[in-house]
């Protein structure tokens, strides 16, 4: 993974902070859409798969393809309800990487960093909502 300058890392963190509220809203939407495993009171498989895909992706398009693939498997299912929102978030991250640095090689690294921060915030909020519901 490419090393980014401290200045660029700071800019990335500032961007993540500015988007935090919208990421939390997506986490809440994931709870409404996918719910959670009521038996184990654990994360839904679909949310876990999204998280795993983002964390293990070697390129940003793996994440976009995962969401499109899930949407393509079921027309009226849960991914149909939330998939467009997720893709819109990913589009924003892609655009942000282009605005944060003009160099394509660094944009590639920035996109993945943004995606990690994004999924961390979204899934944290998802888990927090579940915990609230179980209290």
């Amino acid at each position: 993974m490419m090393t980014l300058s401290p200045d660029l890392v700071r800019k990335i963190e500032e961007y993540c902070d500015s988007q935090h509220d919208s990421w939390l809203k997506l986490g809440e939407k994931l709870v409404r859409t996918f719910g959670y495993d009521r038996k184990t009171r654990r994360i839904s498989t679909q949310v876990r798969n999204l998280q795993q895909t983002v964390v293990s992706a070697t390129k940003f398009s793996d994440i976009e393809d995962f969401v499109k693939n899930q949407m393509g498997r079921e027309s009226q299912g849960n991914w149909g309800k939330v998939g467009d929102d997720v893709l819109e978030h990913l589009r924003k991250l892609r655009k942000a990487s282009e605005e944060l640095d003009p160099d394509p090689a660094r944009q590639f690294a920035i996109r993945l960093r943004l995606a990690w921060a994004w999924v961390r915030a979204v899934v944290s909020q998802y888990l927090y909502e579940i915990a609230q519901q179980q209290m």
Binding site: S61, K68, N69, G72, S75
Partner: protein, 173 residues
């Protein structure tokens, strides 16, 4: 990194997605998908298992569609013609995979070889491609075709998802 030391992930992220959407734009002439899910899965599978056979597969599918002369066969034939055209050889004014590779991957691959002191260095300039360049192009095509068609097929099934499900419900593929 691939065997030539190229960053194919970045190429896939930046260029193949754009190309897949462009090619999709050319084949989407209406609301109806020109080919069904089974054929798309077949295309993706062949691209992954035998990238050099995709062009031949597309041509055969096009011929089959032409023989059928049923409703939608013309659109299907057009779909396969555009896939085949995309796989080259290069044609002026047409988006081809070869052109993308030559533009974005070949210069980097050649620079890496020159840096590594390849015996072919210096032989890669000039207007006619050398045998070594042709081999390199074929090698890159083999690596890029599966990546491209994975993106293309996912995009296709995503955009046409409602129509493909309706068709499956009615007993189509």
């Amino acid at each position: 990194m691939n065997r030539l030391g190229l960053d194919l992930d970045r190429f896939c992220d930046d260029k193949l997605g754009e190309a897949a959407e462009q090619l999709f734009g050319k084949i989407q002439t209406g609301d109806k998908p020109p080919v069904g899910r089974t054929q798309i899965y077949g295309l993706r599978q062949i691209a992954e298992q035998g990238p050099s056979k995709v062009k031949e597969f597309a041509e055969k599918q096009g011929e089959r569609a032409e023989r059928r002369r049923s409703k939608g066969a013309l659109e299907e034939k057009e779909f396969w013609r555009k896939i085949s055209e995309f796989l080259g050889p290069e044609k002026k004014g047409t988006l081809t995979l070869e052109e993308l590779i030559k533009q974005f991957l070949m210069p980097a691959a050649e620079a890496l070889e020159v840096g590594a002191g390849s015996p072919e260095q210096g032989a890669t300039t000039g207007s006619r491609p050398t045998a070594h360049q042709k081999t390199m192009l074929e090698q890159l095509k083999k690596e890029v075709i599966p990546l491209f068609f994975r993106r293309f097929c996912v995009h296709y099934c995503h955009v046409f998802r409602n129509q493909l499900f309706e068709s499956a419900k009615r007993g189509g593929n």
